[in-house]
Symmetry: D3
Subunit: 68 residues, 6 copies
Amino acid sequence: MPYVNIKITREGASREQKAELIKGVTDLLVKVLDKNPASTFVVIDEVELEDWGIGGLPVEEYRTQNKR
Amino acid sequence: MPYVNIKITREGASREQKAELIKGVTDLLVKVLDKNPASTFVVIDEVELEDWGIGGLPVEEYRTQNKR
Amino acid sequence: MPYVNIKITREGASREQKAELIKGVTDLLVKVLDKNPASTFVVIDEVELEDWGIGGLPVEEYRTQNKR
Amino acid sequence: MPYVNIKITREGASREQKAELIKGVTDLLVKVLDKNPASTFVVIDEVELEDWGIGGLPVEEYRTQNKR
Amino acid sequence: MPYVNIKITREGASREQKAELIKGVTDLLVKVLDKNPASTFVVIDEVELEDWGIGGLPVEEYRTQNKR
Amino acid sequence: MPYVNIKITREGASREQKAELIKGVTDLLVKVLDKNPASTFVVIDEVELEDWGIGGLPVEEYRTQNKR
């Protein structure tokens, strides 16, 4: 029954890495809460960098500012 | 006031089918809970197959595995 | 595979009405997109009135203002 | 700690306007709830017009109908 | 048309503070994107502290650890 | 930067189990995508059984039906 939504910035996550996230999260829910994998959904949303803000800034500006 | 979010895998849902989903969900909320259609939002998210996991696998692999 | 999230204000929706929403949305997805009911999730979130805003106001104030 | 998700129809919001939304929402949470900007996420989702329904219709049809 | 979801930890936000968030976010969307307040939803979710994780820890533990 | 939302049915998940989910998901994102734990949010939503539907039925009825 679990539904897991993973939002990450779009920065080149590969098909294999996404599959690894899907497997890892599902295995975790089986181990911790004994959930049924066949009714466990994992949905990954990739978000453009300009659409993600932290510290009041779009991510890229935040990272640039925090490198100084 | 209702806000309904429908997440489906991106597998060719047409403009007409989406309009049918929007109408159907709104009519249902009017019938069951007497909601006002003018303040009922329905948002459809289409998710790439590699971004949707079930059974610990990306959907396409899960379907292949379950065909055997 | 669909995941549907229905957010409504907490205003006394009964167990039966929620079951009707779950059935209605699932039937709609079967009819329109030929989805498998056994892998269709519907999750209902009831939101307190003070936590839902429209027109820049909490719902109850909005309704009072729009009755005048 | 806040996580804010802003869903808008895809109608040409510029990079600068999105940055303004990110800054405005973050400043608001600092002012009202004294939240830490460095752990405040703002994620903007732009939704295609055909994927957003109101009044039982896709947005464009709803707007056309309500102009008459 | 915007739908804004604000998730915050449940730490005593008052009715007035929530109304201020609703008004502030709506005004921001009017100012930046010229959105119609009457079709702008703002939904606030308060999350229990044990249900919010950062740095791999529930918030309270994270805060304790980061005070040292 | 990741934001992960885990929705589960409210069936007695303990504080420790939730902490285990938070740690496990965060460790997974560090391992697979080299994400920074300090800017990784995990939010757990527990959903009442009557508010979660599968197979067109509320969960409890679905489980009863599938035991026969």
